[in-house]
Symmetry: C2
Amino acid sequence: MRKKVTLKQLAKELNLSISTVSKSLKNDSEISQKTINRVHELANFYNYKPNALAVSLKSNKTNTIGVLLPEILNHFYAKVLFGIEQEASKNGYKIVTCITNESYEKEVEYVEMLNYSSVDGFILALSKETQMLNKLDHLKDLKRDNVPLVMFDRVSEEVDCDKVIVDDKHASKTAVQHLIMTGCKKVAVISTIFDLSVGKLRLEGAREEVSMHDGVTLIELPIKNIETEEKEIEVFIKNNEIDGVLGLDETAAAIAINMANKLGYKIPKEISVIGFTDGLLSKHSYPKLTTVSQHAEDLGAKAAKMLLDRLSNTSDTSENKYKTSTEIVKTSLILRDSTN
Amino acid sequence: MRKKVTLKQLAKELNLSISTVSKSLKNDSEISQKTINRVHELANFYNYKPNALAVSLKSNKTNTIGVLLPEILNHFYAKVLFGIEQEASKNGYKIVTCITNESYEKEVEYVEMLNYSSVDGFILALSKETQMLNKLDHLKDLKRDNVPLVMFDRVSEEVDCDKVIVDDKHASKTAVQHLIMTGCKKVAVISTIFDLSVGKLRLEGAREEVSMHDGVTLIELPIKNIETEEKEIEVFIKNNEIDGVLGLDETAAAIAINMANKLGYKIPKEISVIGFTDGLLSKHSYPKLTTVSQHAEDLGAKAAKMLLDRLSNTSDTSENKYKTSTEIVKTSLILRDSTN
DNA sequence: ATGAAAGCGCTAACAA
DNA sequence: TTGTTAGCGCTTTCAT
């Protein structure tokens, strides 16, 4: 077994002191060129790399950011992760990814675990449970410890930090408007996320838009049980003479399309469908789903940028150091074949 | 700003030495109960947590494993990640996730970056490019440095390490067999991954199975360009009178279903379809896709277990320390509505 | 131009 | 029972 080579060993082999070697590696001007060359040569030979742990301990910087996701099997979060990863790695940061699986307990556990010097900052979307319980001390502690935090998508007003959110309300307004403009009179809103902040906003937008148009009605179908989602949607479509569907999450929309197909409705002729999250399901449904793109990758990249920005300004003692901001990612409606 | 509290500060405040505090925190029997209590009390008060970096530097263990994925927007890898994460966190390990985006260069970069003491071991699936280039020195270096590596799914025989693979050949044999048993005579194999190890194996299995049945033919459609995949598949279905499709990846199967629908074929009556990877697309296609489940989460969990096993046996100097093993994850055919 | 020494926060062998 | 010391690998100030 080859032990990893350290400065100490290089120094010994070169008959130099550790500090000289260290400086040489950084091409410090106070070291002679000759020594610098010798050092580099041996370092290359051994493929020397500084021990990241030691550097971090010394510098109090890990170049790592902690990312907490409620879910990973959800395409939206996977895309956000991708965006974060791209931006972070571009700037020499690594990311440690934790999946809270919608659990409050896990969320707290992860935050505490990583907070003790494993990461320089956090990017996080609240777990479902955390959002319902509304217990946020673990995040407020971060603030107290002066550890930068960027929340995205599922955020809380009670936590003062940088945020990146999607303009959910406006997005669903636009979506519903499109349904109405293309002739829908009886629009259904279907989803499993009515009780999440984003779900509420989307519902609100839909209601608002409908209320602005005479002769258009809105029906809401909150799915209680994800196991029976499909059946619920099928029955719902059969029993209500709807001509438009807005699925607040991608799955709901995909299922709506399939059930409408199954029941023999023509899409978009008889029923139009719009979904949220422009993921694989939307691209590969039949017909292809018109969908609200939240530009998840951009969102992730933006969140990472905000965090990196904070991290590089830690020495900034001016007032704006503490002024947090909230960026809103614009959505866009991607027109495909499930609407007229 | 509250600085994070250290042993030193606790010691000072308690008028004890650092080591006494350290030992007290571990309830060391050589410390008086009284002192232990005092220490714990103050530690709790300050919510003291040991600095993970320092502990790691000292112990030469980071309790972190590096996971390198070729892609994250692919449901299979997302599920594997989930499995790894579950298993790792259950054992007090964190994971740092890197996405190579199918690039050889990124793969090398990540491995080198993490190898310098950021992680205790690696779990990795080769990037497409790495697999094509067949340059594996970065992984062989790991072996040389005695850093445990577990490869999964896209593996290489040239690297001697623990592996977890899917029984791809057998899986596609079974799938094709099912198509044949349910009446298919002309089976198409469609995919974008013909040149990956797993793609080759799957193709091999299909060929083998077909060759065992008289009167059954196989047609292969390797998609060259992912941009035109849909069109290629549509034209292909139109021009060949196939009655069965095996999609070697989930997307290909989903598209095949949609195009068959579009062309007016009845599924599964006229055309049967089977896909790989039991992901969202398979569950939410219409009709629902019969699919080969690779049990991605189990696979991830298994890979994590193998790695953790290695990590806990580092002191094991016996010969079997160096004996690597390959576990094969059994697949199963999930029967749904796209086959008879 | 080079080296000695202190220190990041922690652990553990050894001393008192 | 408690404390001293050395050391993990590195950086950096301050000698030399």
